[in-house]
Each structure stands twice: as structure tokens, then as C-alpha cells.
Amino acid sequence: MKKRDIVIIADYSSREPLGLEELIELSQSSPDFIQELIEFGILAPAPTPVTKREFDVDELQRIKTVQRLQRDLEINMAGAALVLDLLDQLDEMQVKIALFEKHLMR
């Protein structure tokens, strides 16, 4: 063991967006892949040229999820988009069910 004193400072209010190049590097993907994700509605469409667009960490995670789904479950892009939509719906429903159980079913 060494250096017990390394302190990492993290600040949620200074979340920095990712540029296209960085996004591609971190997801080990390609501009074409990002374009495809936009076409399938997995990433929001770029209002400006995609090269100037900024992405956030949640979008990076979405890309990684798509990659894992494709690799592990042999899902194509349309299927992955559907899975993500359903997962979002599932999350929303679980929040609602928890609300319902806590405040209405007593």
C-alpha cells in the first residue's frame, strides 16, 4: 500500500460535456456509429453539425449499453433502441409503483 493521501476532488456542478471526438474515443466507436444512433433516435438529433455537438455522460452510457446489447445478445440497432425505450418505461413505472405503494395502498 502506498500514498494514502491522494484526494480526488469531484464537483457535480462542473459536469463538462463531451465533444464528438471524445465521445467516439471513450466508446471506442466511430462517427458512422454515432450517426446511426442518432438516426435510430437513441441519441437526440444534432441541432448543429454533429461535429460541434456536445454530449453528456448519460449519453455515453447509453452508447455503451447499446454496444453491450449488440455484443452479448446479438441485437440489431432497431432492437437496441426498443430495449432502451422499454427500459426507460420500466424505470418510470417502477418509480410510480413505489409511489403508489407508499402513499395510496395502505
Binding site: M1, R4, Y12, R71, D72, L87, L99, K102
Partner: protein, 322 residues
């Protein structure tokens, strides 16, 4: 090291055909895939599954595995039989075959039978492959906060184990202190990326990233839906019937709520702007009316209810037309 029963992981017979194995794998992969699964330990289960499939889908590996015999029990202390050569014959292919970073390490059992990998991942860069450059693995940590902390903002300090490579290129983990500033209005699941604070790279490769994810703990009274806060508001029947001024807790402190006459259970009362802070405007708080019936214990109390029944005949089931 513990023996792994790959057939039981996939739930197939030792005589299963390649098709049966593939079908079993696909079905379980859907069940345990960490991105979709709500099962406990989905990640470990999925890793196990992939390891089992990695061996059983490949006729050579399957034959080698079968040669260990079928008398082993899962989890049993395992030592390769004398003269076991299995590891050698697979050692050559390992370079290209297992490089998927987020697969994580397969078990020691797998490494011993089919050649090392896993903890060797970083070291490989220094030894075998001179040009080999590999980015470090990404690390993930959950920052657990209370609802009050999410509302007010907070600074959390905690210790984190991060893998490190020492001068002798051995992997071990080191403890680092992480100080996280969380602004007021933090959201469930919100992620923060700390570039190059993850696992170390190999052969001059960059360190991986550290991802933090906020997890807001459940609160005894309040719940959260996006930026809106929900609270059950217990009221007495006379308060519901006649209306009342009630002091209601909110995350920002108590406020007055005017309960209108004729309120019913499950009715939502909105306290505008009393939810979680955020842009362009804060969320609301909803108080959900819940009428509590006082028990009639004494004779006098029973008479009050009977008097009510006489004075205000009321059929809550009039829609049934029985």
C-alpha cells in the same frame, strides 16, 4: 481454487448438443444481462454464464473440460490432475481472444485450465508484447446520499479502492479519498465522469475513467418522482369534511396548507415550487390526503358515529345498484 460446473451454470445435461447449449445460453443471457436484468447479482451471474459458454461452445475447450471428469462438484476444491496440459494448448490464442475489457476477469479455475488472463491483463503489456498499449479499466462508484442532502446540496467524503500498478508492475489496489460536491437538486442516477481516475493503463496507455453515480436513499415520509416530492397527508374525518389549516413538512421546512372542505382520500394537494430545486423551475410537492378513521372505543364515541349515520344518510356504494 474452486471447481466450476459449467453444465449446471447453463442448466444443461453433460450430453447436451451444441444447439441446446446455445439455446440455454441465449435464454439465460437475456435473463441476466446486467443492462436489462433486475435480478440480484446479475453481473456476477452473467459473467459466470459467459465463462461457461466460452468453454462449452468451443468443441476443443469442451473436450478438455470434459476430460477433468464428471465427479467434481461445483465449488469443490480443485487441483488439475497430474500431467494436465490443458493450459498450454490454449495459451497461444489468448492474446486475441480475450481482450474485452468490460467482461472483467473469468475465474481462477478458467485461467488455470485454459491459460491465464484477468489479473494478467495489465502485466501483459509490460512483458510479452513490447508495443502493446492498453487503456486502463473504467471504475464505477455509487455516491449514496439522503433526500435532504439531494435537496440542500452536500459534500461527501469517502474512501475508494482503485487498482494501481507499482514499480514492479504488480497490480494491487490503493485507497484513495474522494471528496464529492453535490449541488442542491441532485438527481437520482446522475453521473459524473472523472477523467483518468480509474484503473491504470498498461504499456503507456492512459488510465481509465472513474464514474460516479448518485443514489438517493429512500425517505421515511417523502418520495421523489423527477423533481416532484410526494407526501402522505393523514387527516381526521372532520378536517376533511370541514376543511383545516395544516402545517405540512417539506424538504425546505414546514409550510401551511389549506385543506378545503369536502376533501376526499387520495386527493392530491399541490404545494407549488416546494419540490426539488432545479431549472427552469423547481418541482412541486404533492400532499396526498389520507382520511384516518378514529376508532370508536367508548359508548359515547359509538353514539357519535351513529348520530352521523342518522343525520347524514350517505351511501358510498350507490354506483353498485345492488
Amino acid at each position: 481454487m474452486e471447481y466450476k460446473d459449467y453444465y449446471s451454470v447453463l442448466g444443461v445435461d453433460r450430453k447436451a448438443t451444441a444447439d441446446e447449449i446455445k439455446r440455454a445460453y441465449r435464454k439465460l443471457a437475456r435473463k441476466y444481462h446486467p443492462d436489462v436484468s433486475k435480478e440480484k447479482n446479475a453481473e456476477d451471474q452473467f459473467k459466470n454464464l459467459q465463462e461457461a459458454y466460452e468453454v462449452l461452445k468451443d468443441p476443443e475447450k469442451r473436450t478438455a473440460y470434459d476430460q477433468l471428469g464428471s465427479n467434481w462438484k461445483s465449488g469443490q476444491e480443485f487441483r488439475p490432475p497430474p500431467g494436465w496440459q490443458g493450459g498450454e494448448q490454449f495459451r497461444q490464442a489468448r492474446g486475441q481472444q480475450f481482450t474485452e475489457e468490460d467482461l472483467g476477469g473469468f475465474s481462477d479455475f478458467f485461467a488455470n485450465i485454459f491459460g491465464a488472463r484477468g489479473q494478467g491483463q495489465a502485466r501483459r503489456g509490460f512483458e510479452g508484447f513490447g508495443q502493446f498499449k492498453q487503456r486502463g479499466t473504467d471504475q464505477h462508484a455509487v455516491v449514496s446520499i439522503s433526500l435532504e442532502e439531494a435537496f440542500n446540496g452536500s459534500t461527501k467524503t469517502f474512501q475508494l479502492q482503485i487498482p494501481e500498478i507499482d514499480a514492479a508492475s504488480n497490480m494491487h489496489s490503493s485507497v484513495r479519498t474522494l471528496k464529492v460536491s453535490i449541488p442542491a437538486g441532485a438527481e437520482q442516477g446522475q453521473r459524473l465522469r472523472l477523467a483518468h481516475q480509474g484503473g491504470p493503463g498498461a504499456g503507456g496507455g492512459q488510465a481509465g475513467d472513474l464514474y460516479l453515480e448518485i443514489d438517493i436513499q429512500p425517505h421515511p415520509f417523502f418520495s421523489l418522482q423527477n423533481r416532484d416530492v410526494y407526501l402522505t397527508l393523514p387527516v381526521a374525518p372532520w378536517e376533511a369534511a370541514l376543511g383545516a389549516d395544516i402545517r405540512v413538512p417539506t424538504l425546505g421546512g414546514p409550510v401551511g396548507l389549506k385543506l378545503p372542505p369536502g376533501s376526499q382520500s387520495n386527493q392530491k394537494m399541490r404545494l407549488k415550487g416546494r419540490g426539488m430545486p432545479g431549472k427552469p423551475h423547481p418541482g412541486d410537492q404533492y400532499a396526498i390526503v389520507q382520511i384516518h378513521t378514529p376508532p370508536a372505543k367508548t359508548e359515547e364515541q359509538k353514539q357519535v358515529y351513529e348520530k352521523m349515520a342518522q343525520t347524514m344518510p350517505y351511501n358510498p356504494r350507490k354506483d353498485w345498484s345492488l
